[in-house]
Subunit: 199 residues, 2 copies
C-alpha cells in the first residue's frame, strides 16, 4: 500500500515537473517582452516560484525513486521517513500554488493562443492535486500521528480562516478555473453579506 | 559560533513572522474589497503564500528556540541537523519571496497611506534577507559539505539563468524597491541587447 502510494506520488511529481517546465517556457517571452517593470516583476515572481519548486522536486524525486526501486529501505519509524512525508506534504502545497499561478495566467491569456496549453496544464494539475491529497490522507491513516501537516494546508482549505479570504473555486474538490466564471457571479456574490458567505 | 548564528536566525524569523502578520493585515481588506475576481485571486494568492510561510515558521521557530535554550542538544552529524539547515535554507528563500510580494505591493499602493508601512516592512526584510544569507554562508563554512542549498537560491542569484529573466534590484546586495526606479531606467534597459545585460 505504502509503496504503491509512493509510486503514484513519484509519477505525479514527475509529470508536474514537466508541466512546470512547460509553463516556464510559456512565460519566459512574457517576462522578456513585459511592457513595464511592474509587469516584468509580476511574471518574474511567478517564474521564480516555479523555478524554486523545480529545485525542490529535483531533490525529492530521487529519494522517492530510490524507495520505489527498493534501493534504500526506509523504516516508517525513522526521522528520515517523517521528513520525507513533510517534503511530500510541502509539494502538495506546491501543486495548489501552481494551480493558482495557472489560474492567474488564464485571466491574462484568455482568448489568446496561450489559453489552451495553460488550461490543459491547469486541468491536469487540479486532478493531480486532488490525487495527492487523497494519497497523503491514505498515508496519514497508515501512519497515524506520524505526519505533520501543519505547513501544507492552503488557506482555502483551513477551517479557522474567514471565508471571505478564500477563493470559492478552491474550496471544493471540483475546482474550475475562476477565469471561466461568468462575471455576474462575482457581482452577485459581492452583494451577499460576509456572514452569508460562511458555509 | 553556531549557537550565535542560530540565535540570530531565530531573531530574524521571529521578527519576520510578525512582519508577515502585519502585511496579511494590510492586504486583508484589499482581498475583501477587490473590484473583480482577478484582483481578488491576485491578493488571495499572495496572502496564502505568506499564510503558508507563517505555518512553516511556526514549525521551525520552536526547534530553533530549543537549540538556543540548550534544551535539546543536536549533533552536527545527525540527519536532524541536516534537515534543520534545509528548513532554514527554505526560509531564506521565503524571505526573498516576501521581499518580492512587498515590492509588487509598492507598485499598487504607491502614493497611498499604505506605501509607508509596506516600505518599512520591505526595507527591514531586505536587510534580514542579506543577514540570513551571510549566516547561512557562515554555517556552510563551519559544516562544509553538510548543507544542501539547491532548493534555496532565488532565480535572481543563479549563475546559469539568463540575465533577462532576473530583476536587477535583486541581483546585488543593495536592493532597492523596483517601484522606486525612474520609469526611464526601464525604457533605457529595454534598448540594450540581451548580451549586454549579462554582467
Amino acid at each position: 500500500m505504502v509503496t504503491l502510494s509512493f509510486s503514484q506520488l513519484e509519477n505525479i511529481f514527475k509529470r508536474n515537473r514537466q508541466a512546470l517546465n512547460e509553463f516556464k517556457g510559456i512565460i519566459t517571452p512574457v517576462i522578456e517582452n513585459a511592457k513595464d517593470d511592474h509587469e516584468r516583476l509580476y511574471w518574474h515572481h511567478i517564474y521564480e516560484e516555479e523555478d524554486h519548486r523545480h529545485d525542490r522536486l529535483d531533490h525529492l524525486l530521487p529519494a522517492l525513486n530510490s524507495i520505489n526501486e527498493n534501493e534504500s529501505p526506509i523504516s516508517p519509524d525513522s526521522s528520515e521517513f517523517v521528513h520525507l512525508l513533510q517534503d511530500i506534504s510541502l509539494e502538495k502545497f506546491g501543486l495548489h500554488n501552481f494551480l493558482e499561478h495557472l489560474d492567474l495566467s488564464l485571466y491574462t491569456f484568455k482568448d489568446t493562443e496561450l489559453e489552451e496549453p495553460i488550461r490543459s496544464l491547469r486541468d491536469m494539475t487540479a486532478a493531480d492535486y486532488e490525487e495527492t491529497k487523497q494519497l497523503l490522507e491514505q498515508l496519514n491513516e497508515d501512519f497515524k500521528g506520524t505526519l505533520q501537516y501543519n505547513a501544507s494546508v492552503p488557506t482555502d482549505e483551513k477551517e479557522d480562516i474567514d471565508e471571505n479570504l478564500k477563493i470559492d473555486a478552491y474550496t471544493s474538490s471540483k475546482s474550475e478555473a475562476p477565469a471561466n466564471k461568468n462575471i455576474n457571479e462575482f457581482t452577485k456574490r459581492k452583494q451577499l453579506t460576509v456572514g452569508s458567505l460562511k458555509k
